[in-house]
């Protein structure tokens, strides 16, 4: 920090965290504490009681979710209150915490059985998962590029581990390496961008040119130079990488396909959410003065992202790969909402503003993704990274509940009424109509129609009656936990949308 203080006492008093600062990140601290508790339990508990580890993690996550829902709590600050000497600020609605917590909770449900079947350690997985979750929760509150980068890298390192978690599987390790290389590139872009912004704004006398508030003020005062713009572009590229937007989407199919299925789901939901929220945070926060330049760029990227993901997914025959590429077009939908928020800051859809709409879209995406993931994880597969669509044949006979899970999940991802995914898409379409972004609206509608082909081909194989000569397959056992998750999410996929509209 380039602030200069008369002596250390003054500096300490000015910068030392207040108790209310600590209170404001209680949920994050709780999640981090839970992650350590996982390791402690792994050391202390006898083998018989090992099930307690994931149970504690889940119970803890549910508690923290309940905390996040308490109105007017100390961990929900007004927008203009910065904490920790300006390092953190809750610019986004507090519900964004729910997105990460919900995703982590569901990942834990899916991962438990999945890892035990493959002889991988459950405790370590939960530990890393919770660290990443806490880091994501901090990331979206950051108000300073130091916290931003630290949180982002903490999460990224954790995700490298989770992607390469199945050490006996070549595919998992390969995906881990690919993710490491691609992630390293994005971190480098981000860091380079920060340096350019820091340098170019510092040169014109900004005291702390890594602080979002000060960057915002400087840019609003027109102090940015061409170098600043280049820096902003690089930073946004880093965020677009996390989100998986064009042209930074190329890593997604390989990594999602190779990663262990629970990690794929976590990567698809929590990491995409982090990308979405950081992008939203940056373009509506420090870089808002550049909105006239950024909005057209985002609009073009949104259109391409929407189309590219779906068109590429048309040609795939693997479920995980198809879902990965469909995730790219979901990123396009989120980008469309961000563009709408930039083009018309006051835009609302049925009384929900753009931020709330994105939160809702992500929650709907989580429901759809985890329904599908749970169905995949409950199906036997000799190799986790090879899940051909044709292997679904006869699922309706073998395990109707899994076919049902795919029905609700894929239906929600595809945006078929009356699922929550439809309502979420509807809200974003309304935002686009109100902001008069007709090109994006057209691309969004076309992409929905195109996406039906691959979504429906997955569903078709699961539901269609096998031809008479096909061999009969034995019924599948579906565990109680899987049934519980599927039932709860299926109910949420129908009721969620209605609740939002009421």
């Amino acid at each position: 920090m380039s602030l200069i203080f008369a002596n250390i006492d003054v500096a300490f008093k000015a910068l030392a965290p207040r108790s209310s600062d600590w209170l404001s990140i209680t949920p994050e601290i709780a999640v981090a504490g839970l992650s350590i508790l996982c390791l402690v339990q792994a050391m202390l508990l006898p083998a018989k009681l090992r099930w307690l580890i994931s149970a504690t993690a889940r119970a803890g996550l549910v508690l923290v979710m309940a905390m996040a829902l308490v109105p007017h709590a100390g961990w929900k600050l007004a927008e203009d209150v910065a904490t920790f000497a300006g390092l953190l600020r809750q610019n986004l609605p507090c519900e964004v915490r729910l997105v990460f917590l919900f995703s982590a909770l569901l990942t834990s449900f899916v991962a438990d059985r999945f890892l035990r079947d493959r002889g991988a350690a459950v405790a370590d997985y939960h530990h890393v998962l919770l660290v990443v979750t806490a880091a994501f929760m901090l990331l979206v509150q950051s108000n300073h590029f130091v916290t931003f980068f630290l949180a982002l890298e903490t999460a990224a390192v954790g995700l490298y581990i989770l992607v390469g978690y199945l050490r006996k599987s070549d595919a998992s390790l390969e995906a881990g390496v690919k993710y490491l290389v691609a992630g390293g590139l994005s971190s480098a872009l981000l860091l380079m961008g920060m340096v350019l912004v820091y340098g170019s704004l510092g040169a014109v006398g900004i005291a702390d040119s890594l602080n979002f508030t000060q960057i915002g003020n400087a840019l609003a005062a027109g102090k940015g130079s061409a170098l600043t713009l280049a820096g902003v572009a690089l930073i946004l590229s880093g965020a677009a990488f996390k989100l998986g937007a064009f042209p930074f989407h190329t890593w997604i199919p390989d990594v999602y396909q190779g990663a262990p299925t629970p990690t794929t789901a976590f990567l698809a939901t929590a990491s995409k959410a982090a990308g979405a929220f950081t992008l939203l945070l940056l373009v509506t926060g420090p870089f808002v003065a550049l909105a006239p330049k950024i909005a057209p760029l985002l609009a073009v990227i949104a259109v391409i992202t929407l189309l590219v993901g779906n068109l590429a997914a048309l040609a795939t025959t693997d479920i995980k790969r198809a879902l990965a590429l469909s995730g790219v077009s979901h990123a396009g939908f989120i980008l469309a909402a961000i563009t709408a928020a930039l083009a018309m800051p006051s835009v609302t859809a049925f009384d929900y503003n753009a931020e709330q709409t994105i939160v809702f879209y992500l929650l709907a995406y989580i429901i759809g993704t985890f329904l599908t993931t749970q169905a995949l994880a409950s199906m036997p597969a000799p190799e986790d990274h090879r899940r051909p669509i044709l292997a679904l044949r006869g699922l309706m006979r073998r395990a109707p509940i899994l076919a049902g899970a795919l029905g609700f999940g894929i239906g929600s991802l595809a945006g078929v009424p009356p699922t929550v995914g439809f309502i979420a898409k509807l809200l974003i379409l309304v935002l686009l109509v109100k902001a008069k972004l007709w090109w994006i609206l057209g691309a969004a509608l076309i992409s929905v129609a195109v996406s039906i082909h691959y979504y429906f081909s997955i569903l078709r194989e699961a539901v269609v009656r096998p031809s008479e000569d096909g061999q009969e397959l034995a019924p599948l056992e579906v565990s109680f936990v899987a049934r519980f998750v599927i039932g709860a999410l299926a109910a949420a996929s129908i009721l969620g949308g209605l609740l939002v509209l009421s």
């Binding site: 029905g407 109509v433 209605l498 509209l501």
Partner: protein, 519 residues
Amino acid sequence: MDTFPATLLQVAITAPVLIGLILIAGRSLPRSFASGFAFTGFALPALIAPCLLVLWINDATSPLQFRTDGPWGFGFALNGLGAPLLAMTSLIGLAAGIKALTQDVEARNTYLGLILFMLGGTLGVFATDHLIGFYFFHEFALIPTFILTLFWGGEGRRTAAMQMAIYLTAGAMASLAGILIALDAANLSFANATFVNVADSLGTAKNIPAATGALVLFGFGTLASLFPFHSWAAPGYSAAPTPVSMIHAGALKKFGVYGLILLGLSSLNISQGTLGSWFLWLAISNVFIVGLICLTQRDLKQLLSWSSVAHMGPIFLGIWVCGASGKAAGLDAAAFLMVAHGLSCAALFLLANAVRQRAGTYRLDELGGLASRTPVLAAFFIAATMASIGLPGFGNFWGEIGVFLALRAQPLWIQAIVASTVIISAIYALRAVAATFFGPTSAPLTARLETAPCDDINWIERIAASILLGASLTIGFMPSLITKSTNPVSTGVANFSQRTSTAPAAKPAAPVQSLPSAR
């Protein structure tokens, strides 16, 4: 007392859905119990909806009746178009349900439950005045349609279901975009998005984007198999199990037409200007080109599927002429034809399946001479065919003649083309009857009948067919049952659609709004 019919309306729509839900959840319920339970679900709407139609006509002074406000704006209400369509749907549903109960299929309870879902959704479509609710119920009915086709369907089900899914989603997305843009232009909130309010607000709105009408026309048109977006329909109906074809081709497809009338015609003037001439040409293609396609069919179920697409043509023409020249009679006739076509088309699908059960095939060149073995089936089939080609006495007659009369002020060549289709449809329909029931029995059929002799249709099938044909005869002899209900709406729509061509000061009230609305 006043709320009693409204409660009945709610029961008619929720009962099939709830019973369907229980049947799907209770996959192992005993067969006899499930049958009785499912029958209740099919029969309740069929008991209620025709009574509601009669009640509606008795008090046709109010444009919107039996209104209830459900949560989330999904209230139910019947307007003058919805009442007859609801009655038609309920009767088709009962006949389809009876057919489904006689079928011996795998996972029978789930099958029945899904058909009940489909029926409930289709009923809901015609019993809501809320734009989004209307859209919602349609998709609610479509999802079971796909599952039913995929798992219980016949030959070609995988391709047909995929084609149907893509076309219908594209159509639904286009119409959704149209709906959203219209709501935006009308400056209406979600909760107030009723047909009445939309038509009323769009009447005064200045800045409706030009594309809105096109989106609505092609979106809803695709769902109603308007040429050239019709190619999903015939394979889709052919591959589906018979009860599903009956409900889909007979009732659910009318969703698109209903949307065209209540949103396209009464709010967006789709019959005028450039878009109007597009609409006219496409509707003519529906009657003429699809009619020619029907002539080439060699498979009984395929032929019925294609002819149900061809028969949408006169319906579109009736709608077009109402908007283009303000002839309420055109819309009356179109609405009449919607009901009559639904009944005759469902009856034909039902009876064609009875033919297949006896002959083992739908291929026309492998049939023949069945009339001597199954005279009653032949009689029913001929009656249904006569109904579908518009013989006087059946409902279709009033619909078709009404459309022709409404088109009388149009250029002669239009009338000539439309009239020629009457001949075409008579040719293909009667040829199918001849190839199935008369002439020499084909060699494959003779061989089959030696090993598996067939009986005439049993009393259950007779009841199901009689319900549909009886309803068609009833409206054929008492057309006022339908016209009394539709006339207030069509007069309103006809006046309303002419508002741009009359003096701006004389803006008539919105069609279904001309009397105090219940909200």
